[in-house]
């Protein structure tokens, strides 16, 4: 083994608990200068927690961290910065109203440079590594990949040699991912130490030199990338040999229940979120929706549910136009939206209420009279706890105190209990571990076999391709194609995600 001094970062026995939850349990991790280390693990395995301790967001309960051979205590991002550690968070830490150069300058030592000087500096650094950015563009006007570029430039501007990236590819198209990897390789060549957090195996194999695997907060192993393969990594990550295949029963029935015709939707700021989208949703099948985040998926969901108005076009439900109907009317017709926004509790559930209060969210006003009747909701909640194995102290415990997987089960469970005809789900497995994810897939398949039309908006192409019957691809608010999920290749879909390719019809 190489001498300790050659490690950029060396963590030994790192432990961190949140309340009664042990997020990190005696974790070891090392990375050298000029090396890319992949940190692999499922959602909830403690990857981000570990990295947040390196970047000073959290502080470990015990264990030691050495940076460039010296033992350190990192108690704030300020400390991490001085040690040359830069982190690119999954949710970018940019100030929306600041320009690219302001975002790069903020928090750095030294005087404030005039905008002109700063602009030149930013251009210089970005060109040196083959990146392009308009220094005067404000963050809220940028695309996700531009924002990521700014985050990388922030690290380079500060001259930091240790770079941590948390799930950097989750929001990128396959093409952008390739470009990012090229940049990371050239940074490695310049002697940077890079840690990349991911749960996508093929990316691990593509970019990393070594892989460290975590499972349920515990350190499992570190292996040379060249000496391993997808199957071995999966076993290490999940703890047992499992097939990652998702069941895909054959579609049943298949009648068009929802027909969207030339739908256009504007965002509150006036720009077009969806442009002339036309497609069909059929009973007894799962329609997957692919596309990079922000391609209009959110607006599509909200428009179908009646939450935002359509500029033009029609949403035909059994030949009846839903455009212009109130959310309540649409709910009564059996079109249900299991929408999961960024913040799971922000919409769909009332965080401070228990399961009972949440069960009656859409049905509270069905019984006559001025009073609510919690009794049926209570029965429903108790049945759901049993059926979906929801872990909660009681059905009156605020859902805010429940874990992510359980919250998700409550949300989906409620929508399914209402016996919908159309079920729209957006990112229903975001943040869930593998077991919970599979419970969700099973639930969706069960609905499909009952003849429900399921729309599944996803972010992981592999999952979409295995679960869906057809996949609709969106790009910049347009439907760029609908393909048969059983026959389409990943490349086909990737091309459609950036708007290329000819219209394929399934």
């Amino acid at each position: 083994m190489a001498p300790t001094d050659s490690y950029a970062i060396e963590c030994r026995g790192i432990t961190k608990t949140f309340g009664s939850v042990v997020a990190n349990d005696h974790i070891d991790l090392t990375v050298r200068y000029g090396e890319i280390l992949a940190l692999l693990g499922e959602n909830g395995s403690g990857k981000t927690t570990l990295m947040n301790m390196l970047s000073g967001i959290y502080h470990p309960d015990s264990g030691s961290i050495r940076v460039a051979g010296k033992e350190v205590s990192i108690s704030s991002p300020e400390d991490a910065m001085e040690l040359g550690i830069g982190m690119i968070h999954q949710h970018f830490k940019l100030v929306d109203v600041f320009t690219a150069s302001e975002n790069i300058a903020v928090g750095t030592p030294g005087k404030r440079l005039p905008a002109r000087v700063m602009r030149e500096k930013v251009k210089e650094i970005s060109q040196s590594i083959g990146l392009e950015i308009d220094p005067d563009r404000r963050a809220f006007e940028m695309s996700v990949s531009e924002k990521q570029t700014v985050e990388i430039l922030k690290v380079l501007y500060r001259g930091q040699k240790i770079l941590i990236l948390d799930e950097p590819t989750a929001v990128l198209t396959p093409q952008e991912t390739d470009k990012l990897f090229d940049i990371l390789r050239s940074m490695r060549a310049q002697g940077c130490a890079i840690i990349i957090i991911t749960h996508k195996l093929h990316e691990v194999l593509a970019i990393s030199d070594r892989v460290t695997i975590l499972r349920k907060g515990k350190y499992i192993d570190t292996v040379e990338t060249a000496l391993t393969d997808e199957k071995k990594l999966t076993e290490l990550m999940v703890g047992r040999p499992i097939s990652l295949k998702i069941a895909r029963p054959d579609p049943v029935g298949c009648e068009t229940i929802l027909k969207i015709v030339d739908l256009s939707v504007r965002k509150p700021d006036g720009s077009l979120a969806i442009q002339d989208a036309s497609f069909e949703v059929r009973t007894g099948e799962i329609l997957g929706v692919a596309g990079i985040a922000g391609s209009g998926q959110k607006e599509l969901c909200e428009c179908i549910a009646g939450l935002c108005p359509a500029e033009k076009g029609a949403i035909l439900f059994h030949k009846e136009n839903l455009v212009g109907k109130s959310p309540r009317e649409i709910i009564r017709k059996g079109v249900h939206l299991g929408f999961v926004p960024e913040d799971r509790l922000g919409m769909g559930l009332v965080a401070s209420m228990g399961m009972v209060g949440n069960m009656m969210l859409k049905t509270y006003d069905v019984p006559k009279g001025p009073f609510v009747d919690p009794a049926p909701a209570r029965r429903q909640a108790e049945a759901l706890v049993e059926r979906l194995e929801i872990v909660t102290p009681s059905v009156d415990t605020p859902v805010r105190l429940m874990s992510g997987g359980n919250v998700q089960k409550v949300l989906l469970g409620r929508e399914i209990e209402s016996e919908p005809q159309v079920l729209v789900t957006a990112y229903p497995v975001r943040g869930l571990d593998i077991n919970s994810s599979y419970t969700v897939y099973d639930l969706l398949n069960e609905q499909k076999q009952k003849g429900v039309a399921v729309v599944f908006i996803g972010e992981d192409l592999d999952v979409l391709m295995e679960l869906s019957d057809r996949i609709m691809v969106m790009c910049h608010g347009q439907v760029t194609g609908v393909v048969d999920a059983r026959t389409a290749t990943k490349d086909d879909i990737a091309l459609l995600m950036v708007g290329g390719g000819k219209e394929a019809q399934a």
């Binding site: 967001i57 300020e78 910065m81 903020v106 928090g107 005087k111």
Partner: protein
């Protein structure tokens, strides 16, 4: 007549200017402090009492500043460290501050022999309109620029400095990053807690000086209860009008200063309106501005994005 009116308006705008700039500093780090009225009241009380005892204008100012700062400290501890609701904490500070100032005022009245509290002659002279030989006698420009109490110059100076700080310095940029997105600022290595405290406390101190003006100047150096009289609230609203920019605040407070003294300058023969209407005018205008600025749909880049939301690093 017009010049007299303008001069009076500028003087009347001074407490608003202090309040507005103080509140801007606090809101720039994302803390909506509804306690301006209370901080001004406490500053008023401290400034007046110290001024009366010591007969020193400078000491009165220092006392008002420190008192405002200390009252802001209560708010800062509650909202920055203890993550309490900003609206409630600020409101309580207002109720507490007004109550405390009135209480101390009456307490001091009880121990005074004359039955009134009045500032001594020495300090009154120090606060009086500065007159600069040569300059103050120039027609029009003289009275317009060089005929005010030191309070006025101090207020404008603080507003200009605050603007420079925010626009030109790295620290100003950092502070604005905190207000817009504390998590991003934190990740960029800025000490969020330290700067939140600094700005809230500074803002409180500046409000305190504004309060001292209310107590020491408006009523001719005689202590009365409730001497801030709602100016603090107008200042909170003026922040929106000034788009979180201390330089615009100078103009904004001037407009409202003019409204406050309008009743003395509109000749009864031209328009005869009840006095109550004039008293109502600044509040009516503020409400109007609130509505108009909300109707303008355009995204305000100056509005601190995290305003009213406490920041806890480990919250995800």
């Amino acid at each position: 007549m017009l010049i007299k009116f303008l001069v009076a308006a500028i003087a009347a705008s001074t407490p608003l200017l202090f309040g507005t700039v103080g509140e801007i500093l606090s809101e720039k780090v994302g803390h909506l402090n509804l306690g301006v009225e209370g901080m001004m009241s406490i500053g008023a009380c401290a400034g007046f009492m110290v001024g009366m005892q010591t007969d020193s204008f400078v000491l009165a100012l220092v006392a008002a500043f420190i008192a405002g700062l200390c009252s802001a400290l209560i708010y800062a501890v509650l909202t920055v460290t203890f993550l309490a609701d900003q609206n409630v904490a600020g409101l309580t500070l207002t109720i507490f501050g007004i109550g405390l100032a009135n209480f101390i005022g009456i307490f001091m009245l009880g121990s005074s022999e004359s039955g009134t509290l009045k500032l001594p002659a020495g300090i009154t002279a120090q606060m009086r309109e500065i007159s600069i030989p040569g300059l103050s006698t120039i027609p029009v420009i003289g009275p317009l620029l060089f005929s005010y109490s030191p309070f006025v110059y101090l207020g404008v100076l603080i507003a200009i400095l605050a603007g420079l700080f925010l626009k030109k310095t790295k620290m100003g940029l950092n502070v604005q990053a905190i207000g817009h997105n504390p998590a991003a600022a934190d990740a960029a290595g800025i000490n969020v807690t330290r700067w939140k405290y600094t700005m809230i406390l500074l803002g409180g101190g500046i409000c305190g000086i504004g309060g001292a003006y209310c107590a020491m100047i408006i009523n001719g150096g005689v202590w009365i209860s409730n001497n801030v009289g709602g100016l603090g609230w107008i200042a909170v609203a003026l922040v929106i009008f000034a788009k979180w920019n201390p330089w615009i605040a100078i103009g904004g407070s001037f407009v409202f200063g003019a409204l406050r003294i309008l009743k003395y300058y509109v000749p009864k023969s031209v328009i005869s309106l009840p006095t109550a209407f004039y008293d109502m005018l600044p509040f009516l205008m503020t409400a109007l501005i609130l509505v108009i600025s909300s109707i303008r749909k355009k995204r305000d880049l100056n509005l601190p994005g995290s305003l009213g939301v406490d920041y806890f690093r480990e919250e995800r």
